[in-house]
Subunit: 294 residues, 6 copies
């Protein structure tokens, strides 16, 4: 394994995952785990010992976060060599090697847990997303995420959703308008809220509004909403909403959607299905790292 071929610092950054805050997130995670140093490794492993590490899928999964793993070891020790077998977005069968590394044993041990914590969490999101996406694939609906993300990890979690085949909703409060119950109440109705929003917001931003009942739908359409979110409606109401809309605007289903019912929801003809569980309740997938010294 040649050093030159396997150093990939460039690719990890040029790739889709990079963003200016990534190193800060990684260093904070390392700080939590490594703190003032790894007592066990300091006591037992000679600084000069070189080792090879193999990262392996312990269950079948959709991979997300591998460039984060690479970056962790790059930050710990630039001479570490990283060799991926799979790439983010790919399905990895149980038992397959995801990537191999070479570097000082002390460094590989120091970064192991932090690296796996990112990889297991992000691959967990990608894997769950893929199941939703597969479930609706015969209909045109997009599976999208929400703002119900883990504090501090939103950008990475939204990346994992894309790697699982999903799409992203707005990033936060700053890049999209979404009018909710509370706003509607404060404005005296959906129509008025949509009109005010259209008048005030940047021309580059779409105006989306929730509707709880079908009678609000026509009002929202008339006021020129770009997207209408059908909040916690039953499947029958969604089907009616699709009929009423006649393709005039984009319809998003939201609330109470699970793997068991997502296909039914997609079958109603809605354009977008948003699922909070992708990011707030996806279980971690099982990934291990084994070390080989000498």
């Amino acid at each position: 394994m040649s050093h030159h071929d396997s150093r990939m610092s460039g690719q990890s950054k040029a790739g889709e995952i990079w963003f200016p805050d990534l190193d800060v997130i990684i260093l904070r995670a390392l700080e939590e785990d490594v703190g003032s140093g790894d007592l066990t490794t300091r006591a037992l492993v000679e600084p000069g010992v070189w080792a090879r590490a193999i990262i392996e899928a312990k269950e079948t999964l959709v991979l997300a976060g591998l460039p984060v793993v690479q970056r962790i070891f790059e930050l710990l020790e630039p001479s570490c060599v990283f060799q991926p077998t799979f790439f983010d977005g790919e399905r990895v069968p149980a038992g397959e090697t995801i990537a191999q590394m070479e570097g000082p044993a002390a460094i590989l041990l120091m970064g192991e847990r932090t690296a796996l914590n990112f990889l297991q969490h992000l691959s967990g999101i990608a894997s769950l997303t893929r199941r939703y996406v597969d479930a609706v694939q015969q209909w045109g609906a997009r599976i999208v995420d929400t703002r119900k993300t883990t504090p501090g990890l939103r950008t990475l979690e939204k990346y994992a959703v894309r790697k699982g085949g999903g799409f992203n909703h707005r990033i936060g409060l700053f890049d999209g308008i979404l009018i909710k119950d509370n706003h509607i109440e404060a404005c005296g109705g959906v129509g008025e809220a949509v009109r005010r929003a259209r008048a005030a917001v940047p021309h580059t931003v779409k105006v989306e509004t929730e509707v709880d009942r079908l009678d609000q739908l026509e009002e929202a359409l008339a006021a020129g909403a770009d997207i209408i979110l059908l909040d916690n409606m039953d499947v029958e109401s969604m089907r009616t909403a699709v009929r009423i809309n006649r393709g005039r605007t984009m319809l998003e289903a939201s609330g109470g959607i699970k793997l068991e019912n997502v296909a039914q929801v997609a079958a109603t003809g809605v354009d977008i299905i948003s699922v909070g569980a992708l990011t707030h309740s996806s279980p971690s997938v099982d990934i291990g790292m084994s070390l080989h010294v000498g």
Copy 2:
């Protein structure tokens, strides 16, 4: 509701949850969600409007993270008034009010999602922990967490485990010795690894070692391990290990432990049961916030 009685900035800090990095974690989460500002609220809500917010449990849960919620709104606007009904560690029945707040409507809307993201995640951990703790209560075993935490949230997640009735394992690599397979291999055996660790580490730190097989147990005991982790053993082997140990050292069961089998594990007589799922796979619990203007 008097302003004086309900301001609680002091208590949130004096309480168990406070640590020097908490505000940084909160501000990073707000930065992710609020960024350069809340477009919807800016378009629809007058700055001067005051509102009341009610935080409500949508399912039965064990509460954790309420002081984080309070601190979020304190940082956004010191004049917000916060009135808790329940405290962290308490079981909240579905439909109950967890806390009430008063403050500018724009502020309450701006902080809502970030606050709920923390509260739903941490209460999810506390609620899951409580189920494990309840399952083993007739035996003496402690349920403890692991280092398999969400990057950036370890201190808060370990707090939530305590609030669910669990105990904490070591915080990270810096405050405890845990000798694993890879270390053992590098040292030529459990006994040698434990002896080296005892010689090198601070006198305040306990030495824990994994054993994968029963024949390693006696070697670890002889070398003076303070804690022995039975890694991925079946229940029968654990029972044998407890017999062999005869109370000489603390035994920790780890690996593959689920709600379904945790009672059996506890019944073997081990002292400690560590469960990674508490922090890496606990689903979010459902908590809502409703706003009342005027």
Copy 3:
């Protein structure tokens, strides 16, 4: 002037200007100017001396940034009393008092330059924006900003544009699609680029594309661009573009627009006029602070 009435920390945050990163920006600015301490004040002013400061417009201006001034002194010393006469977005005639403060003389002197640097720069942007907005008011066109902002101050500068009566374009690369020459070349044509963008981006994001020539306009329209930017076109071409478009999509004029020709551009019927100079070349306006001790 009662202490209770004039403390405004809440309002400055509830107001439009607040965002999670504001204090960081202010503290970095103070760090630059104050560093390890104010040598002159330390040598000449007794710590206990209290003073009154008057902030005054030395020329007629549109105000922007007053809550930043207030926050600077709040951070330096919470007991400072701040009393505004005007609010952001208002036109202040030359010679008028903008705000008054009371506090320790040493604190008022320490914060003076930093406060004025923000206020003069942001009011400079608001004042220039207002001139553009006034120049086009008889037509419907919006004056909008660009990403040509001063590094580190984008959120505040875009706020100042709004306070001058302008609107904001996208915040950065993350919240809008704008296809430029280089992208078009890489994709083999406007139409293809727009189609790819529509397929890939979040459903909440509009797709905008530049066109340099009128023959690209029809292609962009056919591909479903949400906004079309007429890049560096002469007024005659813009007029033709408006005719071709027949209101099907939003048209934005950009490039080479100055106060002298902005009315002509607006008269063509374009919807949006973006002006980089609002943020990259607006001169500072003259504002002074005088101190009155005892």
Copy 4:
């Protein structure tokens, strides 16, 4: 263009522009613009595509900030190759290539706007400074900057002033004494203020005082001021001040100095002319970047 020859990370740091906080300033600027990622590039440009970028002067300018541009792309992607044609401080004719780069197209597009925002702003300052410096070159007076800088950019702006041929005044409140009206009032006169300052300050720091009227000049001289600032005086008064001073101390002209009158001010014989407009009102200069793929 060989990779080895053109990598310049060392030089950018060894050069005059480097200071410990530079990367923080750059990363904050990238964070503002790139945030969670470049939507347009992600949708349209394949990660593996390599490109060449040419940075070109669209008007004649004095260059400042090129090492910042280089550092931006180094931080985004260490394998980027940077080849400058001109160096900071040089006059670049309109139409000339300032520098060329090679790197991943996605990286060059991601950094373009941030890089140009720095370069256009800093070159704007250097170019304006050069005009002042040229205007006074037949007299001995130095053109110097002030503390009226853009918040967050002081070190870079003062660098740009030097590259335009100007000199720096004190950096901030911490590295020089400048006694102003308010201090004088608080101390009961210029002489007393200067004496107190001399007694208290570090021996390495010069004492400068403002005088508004000629009768204060003698008092300041007698008290031993190292530098005397003639505040907002007319040219005639300055000439008198120079006569009175007879070279005993350094005289600085300040207030109301413009390109139109700076030569007259210099002709009075003052040593130093400070001009706030260098940093607070210099228009951006026009610089473009074009991309060539394949």
Copy 5:
């Protein structure tokens, strides 16, 4: 003890010690010591318990750093009440109470060690400085510090030197010129180095040069050095240097100066005596904190 009278947040900031980075330094120190929480206090002290703490001098000392102590507890818990008996710069006899506090016991215990670490270190510097100052008081020489400070604490340590009656030398490389051996060698002589420095540096900055031998002194004087540092000269040479200088410029003695010989050095007539040991080798003074619950 009334709450209103004893809250002193304002004063600590208005006082001499405040600078924009102070809270960062304090929070980093708390992070080191408190980390994820105080295990002992969490186990043993009820959150609601209120206590009184007394800070006491265990040896006679010159106080420095008390506002840092106050700020630490303010940051931990704003409701803490702080009542100083002595102020920075005062001599405190052994056994005297320096300050009293009231607050939650858990908070007082959490901040104790961090607070004392600052106070013992800074008072150690002030106390040692005072001994040097007292030793030279019959001559006019100033005792000044150097750049040999503890990394991260320079601003506070230079403050402590002032509180001990000393003066500060330049803060760092950025606010003063000091030409050393290496520079002289690179320039081909003291005179040339001084001339180049005078031509290049800001007009507000003094030029200081080292001389190792008396024959360099005249050259430095002729070139116009503002301050001349006599580097590691014996007392006899210093006396000669003072004679040669005849008051033309400021002379600074540096190198090998100890409490035992500082009076002799001062007696030579030098203006300035710089002592690295003030900050790099001052022993901590003994200060204790006792807690009284209930």
Copy 6:
């Protein structure tokens, strides 16, 4: 000296000293000293000049902190070449070369003071620690540090103690239990305090308690303390304590221990001797750096 052989970035990180926060500590120290740039070097040294620097022990010392020095220059300029002669933990005789470097003269001068400040301080601690360790070597007692460290430098100072042959006590409040007077008072006795602590703390954490008098010792033993700290006892009482203990638990001597009496304390048979002076009062050792240009 080949570039390839002497670059050691990997080793400095793989070594014992590295921890995630190290670069932050170094950059803050550089920021303090270099700030906006080195005026002297900028005025006198051409950017292109290359030099060799020799770091030399001016007195005999035990080395600690050399990897910090290396990292400082790596951060300033990655092309610097670093060649150590000695390694941390080794005794360096006066006059010996500790390390050599090559790099741009401007960079070597810029980093010199910061590098030496770290190296002199940490080697001061290691050297003092070694004297204590040597003094007790015929007995089995360990010399350990305390939490009385310099704010901001705890991890590095504890590293230096290890390099001097000492051991570390707990890092902070978060990784060990130490029950002190105040806790005992609040709990109604040593025994009760120890029992409460054992019930509450993580199973990985030892419980240590202070005892001031011999009658508390039996109570602490009975309650199951893992370590007992004999606080400020005289040598005779310590000897009695060792007799009473009969090896049942670990005994730590603390308070008033100096080089003069540490051997007597060790002779009592205690296991651990903690010495605050190692970190709070160790004088800096003398180390110089000389530059050779051309």
